[in-house]
Symmetry: C2
Subunit: 281 residues, 2 copies
């Protein structure tokens, strides 16, 4: 553990860039890779991605649903992949989108953000349908352990629009409210340039369409999925996020993974080059 | 599999009543029960609850966070508990509050709602921060497999209020929007008196405070946590839910579990009697 998550993330950005490679072993990709749709298959898939990313980029994001699909055996596979990724020096964001109340949500924080836990990651994604206040236990644990939390704010799917643009009593959209609550939490709890609490903002949305401004995202990590397969182009990074682009974790999954096990290294190198060109230090 | 989830739930209500006993092996309860805070401890805790509920009530709700806390070993324990509960004829609601998009959310549906999956339950809780439309794959899978889905609508914690009362463009609160979307999905997809898609509404909230009316809940299962420890009294069931009370799964956890392993049967019998008195058939 070396200091606050925001500082660690900044160091990774400097050393290895902003690209985050998804680890998404869904049945279609397993098939395309010639791997069985089993716990062993998702393990081998994950280990292959970790091996390819190590030394080329700095961040991976396992989508936990594809491991959970195989029950306890899938979780054992995930434990191996998480451990290998962290041993390889990669920063690991567990894409779990957990959320709950009280002791339940604390238990999720314990599972994913506790040093020594078999599921230990460097950060996790969470959902604040029950309010950011419901996640206080997870946020405090993250802060104490040098871990990070990414709270879903605005997502790229059209069905999300009605909920995420709904207007709270304070006049903010639900999405902007999450961002404001995260900013307030960072301001109250840390002194780092980049906070330990961040948000998830889909790369294919227009910030203004969900009531967000670039400046709202200042000082917080932004995990932006949707590059590549879902339609956002990496070269649009500054256009999409403006001054906040330098805080963005550029997440790409299918566009890289569909290159198959033999094309993986080249696809990662290509994406890294695109990110570097789009957002020079 | 015997028909649609709503019909199966109605049968359970008639045969065994509306009480749902939570399986919440958090560290405090494990300690009070004299069990280790380990995968073995959560397994033994879950098995003891299943044994006590069988023949006394009809529904259990394992809180998955407390099993996930112990990683793959905790999931192996959960598989045993789920399997024992279903073998005992109990209806099992996996309290997982999962939510995501596309193939990811489909993977969660596969894990929890597929016959033969090692994590098979009869229903799962989900979160629609990304819109009910993002959960279509899970809802369709539930319908096809005779399984149920409970979507978080209005929860009992005060920090949830700003989000869940925010006003959508169609004039509904976020909570009422979830309920309306669930009602529309049930209407479009089933003919059963009680739909396969339900909602979670905390027992300690006032429906009107979050923009809901009793009549909005007609025809859908309502999972209501918060009885007992969190402050709602079972005898208030009709007062709280009015005409919708007959669709309510009355969920109690800590108030029963805190009776300890030796007091469990009596606490369950007592809660069943209260539910029966509060909501006679």
């Amino acid at each position: 553990m070396t200091g606050a998550f925001g500082s660690r993330l900044s160091e990774v950005f400097t050393a290895s860039g902003r690209l985050c490679v998804g680890i998404d072993p869904h049945s279609g990709l397993l098939d395309a890779w010639g791997l069985p749709d089993s716990a062993e298959g998702v393990r081998d898939f994950g280990m292959r991605v970790v091996e390819a990313v190590a030394g080329r980029a700095g961040i991976v994001k396992p989508q936990v649903a594809f491991f959970e699909r195989h029950g306890a055996a899938g979780y054992a596979a995930l434990e191996e992949v998480l451990s290998a990724a962290r041993a390889a020096g990669l920063l690991v964001i567990a894409d779990v989108k957990r959320g709950d109340l009280g002791t339940s949500v604390d238990a999720y924080g314990e599972a994913w953000l506790t040093p020594g836990s078999s599921l230990e990651a460097d950060a996790m994604t969470v959902v604040a349908y029950q309010g950011l206040g419901s996640l206080t236990g997870v946020l405090n644990r993250a802060q104490a352990n040098g871990k990070g939390v990414f709270v879903l704010a605005a997502t790229s799917n059209p069905e999300a629009f009605a909920t995420q643009t709904a207007t709270r009593e304070d006049g903010l959209s639900v999405a902007a409210g999450v961002v404001a609550d995260v900013a307030a939490w960072n301001a109250a709890s840390g002194r780092a340039a980049l906070g330990s609490a961040g948000v998830v903002v889909g790369a294919t949305i227009g910030l203004a369409d969900v009531g967000l401004r670039e400046s709202d995202l200042t000082g917080m990590p932004v995990l932006a999925p949707g590059f590549g397969h879902q339609g956002a182009r990496i070269e649009q990074l500054s256009e999409l996020f403006g001054s906040a682009a330098q805080n963005v974790v550029v997440s790409a999954s299918r566009s890289i993974l569909s290159a198959g096990p033999s094309g993986l290294e080249a696809a990662i190198d290509d994406a890294v080059a695109q990110v570097t060109a789009a957002c020079p230090e």
